[in-house]
Symmetry: C2
Subunit: 584 residues, 2 copies
């Protein structure tokens, strides 16, 4: 056993080629075992085993500095930098994050989880080194899929002007999460097909030097290539071709499905937990496929994450021209949606909350100033969404709801969602975003007759007095539960309100509450700062109505248990009712 | 006279070459006259005269659709699409905007003012056309300077996958606002030097077809090139070399200074209004140059707008390696700042509020999750900033102040600003942004001893009772004036508070106000939604203290007079005091 003895990269400096090959085997065995038990990013890590060994063999981390893009290929790096325990010891699987993490190791320089950032971040390290007169190697590692993101492309262009050492390792496995999309991928193919010799070379056209590695899973080639660029005095790209999923037959064969995996049975590859019921992905997919058939102007857009709304290979074929994957290019996805709407099409762009952050200016300028009727469907925008610090869905309300012209809707049930979606797709007055509920999937067969075009009309679902609970989206059931508990404790029936609209205040309804309510309680599934509740507090600022805003504290959370966080933020019905009662 | 007779592009369809040349002369005369009286974007428009004539001669607008990037080269287009009056009639100069504008003309499809968006937006029009089975030409026009922006690069990559007509006209005048920065510009130079024949071709490497026009100010070449790509069935780039400022000698010679101009004397080129006093640009420049001398780790970053903080050609040379212009690449600017701070450097990135919008995800992920001590200096963040709808500086408080870890500071004087800047540059605990005051430049020689590292400590500048006025940044003097007026009207001395911190609430101070204040008034120079005042309202939600939030309504404003907008939003001291008095 080699792996278990490795405490730092210096431990592999004297390995022979055979020892490194043996180490690679052990690393794959550990990867497979952990992924089968724990789940995680699969294909990219299997492909990067040899390259990671070669990088650590040739360079001198942490003096030489590696910056990994998106972190989906950092597991082998973690294994070689004192964190092998996180892959060998089942009890310690959760001791390390799935992302590069400076708190874990001096070999990591940034917490990274979004794509396309490594080149620009590493450029910063290089600039700092140059100011100090240092000579260490700075190495950015980026996958081919991530290259299409705006920040990565900007970064390549800026990196080329560095007048000093800078190495960009492009891990080309010919895949994004799904297949790549974009014109540059034809050039990557040309380079692969010509062993990097084609004259027309994307990287060279960006002003960068270029080295090609035909087999990025061959240790000797990799070591030679890295030795050749080590201590370079100018920016250079090492374009290496790796096999996604290398060494794990199932992942080699079905690259898209095995980009990321849930725990699975090692023999069959079948996931241990199966879900085939209805959820907001399947509901969105089914709605869109139906609607597309009826209306050729409806078009679904994805930025490299079609699975978000259940569009697998087969569904994508069915949709044909009415589906477009722009690759990892969220900015363009929003601009494209705006352009399609301006041209009379009906675009729907389903996307994770955390990745919408990459499009703030496109939302504001390209979409909302132009007031084009595109529809965005926002997934995992919740404390119940992804819980890694880089993938939180609790910031979209302040980010989006304060952009003029945008109508941001918050359904609480499947029926409300579909009614909103259908309204949004067919209207041509407003840019609309819909915040998918998380946690429970509630379907109650209620027929929705509300006209969502009459903006900012909240709805009283239970008329009461003294206290009104306004429950936004995912937290609407919490409002109902709190009202029930309040009634049990006080005998007074409280008012319960479904506001539907995140982006506006229903003056009339809120004013009407003043006559027989002392307290208005708001509940929102996101941070309080800049959010929904503060607007209500401001509205009642000049009145005698007391307002209690419940939501999350403004902070970066990491790998949390939602129940703990809810409790910390007084978001159980007991705490809420206690806080209301404490007011009097 | 030709120009005055042109009501639509169809009017030039039968022009002879000589007539078009005469028209070009007239257009330049009108441009020069208007710019000398009115100011505006200069160099880019002079360079685009012939290309615009040729585009309208060859294509059939508005059936064929032009999408201009950033709009700084749309004046000739406006002249030929029924808006010549806006350049010929001095009384109507203000009837048209400086940007493409669908409300003005059916020949404009988007309101555009930020760079790098045209390709992605036009892609949307192309997709919509393809869904409908249309055949019209879609033409995106983009300058070489704008190409380096992430959205533009994403857009080129996505455009290449269109299986239908799409034309990208690259207006290469070898300049951004200042000189270009980025590796790709070496390739553009290579293409210019080889008449477009170099094998290594950035556009081809992006998967696009390519046509080169050596003289982009020669009508015959342009007409031939556009005819050759008209009705193409695949995406193609027309790379034309134009001369920035063509036909206006001063602008031909000094391209950076004449990118944009204030009103000037036609004979001498001297600006009609001269300002050479101290302002926040000069103060920032002087501080940075001094600090750089003392500390080699200090580095200033710009994203193609060095003039924002007074860095002209000479100053940039002085700063040497301690200055970096990333070109139009705001995302990378923020990531770079984070990386430099992570590497022990001290980066300062001065930037307009409106362009910081392009970096939301980089602020959140690259900078704030990593909690790196970079300094951002935010200019024109105010109702007194730029007043075009695409350049407003009234949205940065909700956008930025709700990002965890960021410390967003709001000075009210030169002395406070410099104290904050100096603290921020030298500390290594927090990412910091500083919101430059607008309107008045206040310097009072006050010695600032406050420790800005003790976060969220507001300061009572005048102790009073009953009413407390909290005036943020630019609006602090308004708070003072309102307090004075309140005292005149009631005889009661009010409390006046300078909060300094936009990103946090001073619980202790706010609680202390409860004992002898009935009302707290907040004043902020930005939209209220998601802003500073709402946090104060939420804080006092459970108390008897009334809160009145004053600021701007959430809306897109365009070409307004600040005084009007302030009045509409009850932001005069008289209105504020009246509203306070009306409470009781």
């Amino acid at each position: 056993m080699y792996l278990e003895k490795i405490n730092s990269p210096s431990d592999i400096k004297n390995y022979s080629l055979d020892e490194m090959k043996e180490l690679a085997k052990e690393m794959r065995t550990a990867l497979l075992k952990k992924l089968s038990v724990h789940g995680g990013h699969c294909g990219p890590n299997f492909g990067m085993v040899e390259a990671t060994i070669a990088l650590h063999y040739v360079f001198n981390s942490p003096v030489d500095k590696f910056v990994f893009d998106v972190s989906h290929q950092t597991y082998p790096h973690k294994m070689l930098t004192g964190r092998a325990y996180g892959f060998l010891d089942e009890n310690r699987y959760d001791d390390i994050t799935g992302y590069s993490c400076p708190e874990e190791s001096e070999h990591d320089f940034f917490t990274v989880g979004h794509t396309s950032t490594s080149v620009s971040l590493a450029c910063g390290l290089a600039k700092a080194r140059d100011l100090k007169g240092g000579k260490e190697n700075i190495i950015a590692i980026i996958g081919d899929g991530s290259l299409s993101g705006g920040e990565a492309l900007e970064g390549l262009d800026v990196a080329a002007e560095l007048d000093s050492n800078f190495i960009i390792v492009v891990n080309d496995n010919d895949m994004s999460i799904a297949e790549n999309h974009g014109g540059m991928y034809k050039n990557l193919k040309l380079l692969r097909d010509t062993d990097g010799k084609a004259e027309c070379n994307f990287f060279k056209s960006m002003g960068l030097d270029y080295v090609f590695v035909k087999d990025g899973n061959d240790l000797t080639s990799l070591i030679n290539a890295f030795e050749s660029v080590k201590d370079t005095d100018k920016p250079v790209v090492v374009h290496m071709v790796t096999q996604k999923g290398k060494g794990f037959a199932l992942a080699e064969k079905n690259k898209e499905d095995w980009h990321w995996c849930m725990p699975f049975d090692i023999k069959t590859g079948k996931p241990k937990f199966n879900f085939d019921g209805e959820d907001y992905s399947s509901v969105t997919r089914d709605y869109l496929l139906d609607k597309m058939k009826m209306d050729k102007n409806v078009i679904a857009i994805t930025s490299a994450t079609p699975a978000v709304f259940g569009f697998d290979e087969e569904t994508r074929k069915l949709a044909g021209k009415q589906f477009v994957d722009v690759g990892i290019a969220e900015e363009t996805a929003v601009a494209l949606a705006s352009g399609i709407a301006a041209g009379g099409g009906k675009p729907v762009y389903p996307v994770y909350s955390t990745f919408l952050q990459r499009t703030f200016d496109q939302l504001s300028q390209d979409l909302c100033i132009n007031n084009n009727a595109a529809t965005l469907v926002v997934f995992a925008a919740s404390v119940y969404g992804m819980n890694d610090v880089t993938h939180l869905g609790i910031y979209d309300i302040p980010m989006m709801s304060n952009i003029p012209n945008l109508v941001y809707l918050s359904p609480t049930t499947k029926e409300e969602y579909l009614a909103m979606l259908d309204w949004s797709v067919d209207q041509n007055e407003h840019p609309v975003a819909i915040r998918i509920p998380c946690c429970e999937f509630i379907s109650n067969s209620e027929k929705i007759t509300k006209d969502f075009g009459k903006l900012n009309k909240y709805e009283i679902k239970q008329q009461g007095s003294d206290v009104a609970f306004i429950g936004l989206g995912t937290f609407y059931p919490l409002a109902e539960r709190a009202a029930k508990l309040y009634e049990q404790k006080t005998g007074v029936k409280a008012t319960v309100i479904n506001p539907y609209y995140i982006t506006g205040v229903d003056d009339e309804l809120l004013n009407s509450l003043k006559s027989n309510h002392k307290t208005v309680v708001t509940l929102e599934d996101g941070i309080l700062d800049g959010g929904f509740g503060e607007k209500i507090a401001s509205f009642y600022g000049d009145s005698d109505v007391k307002v209690l805003n419940f939501g999350l504290k403004k902070e970066f959370l990491d790998r949390y248990n939602p129940a703990d966080i809810l409790k910390e933020n007084h978001l159980t019905e007991e705490q809420i009712v206690d806080d209301v009662l404490a007011l009097n």
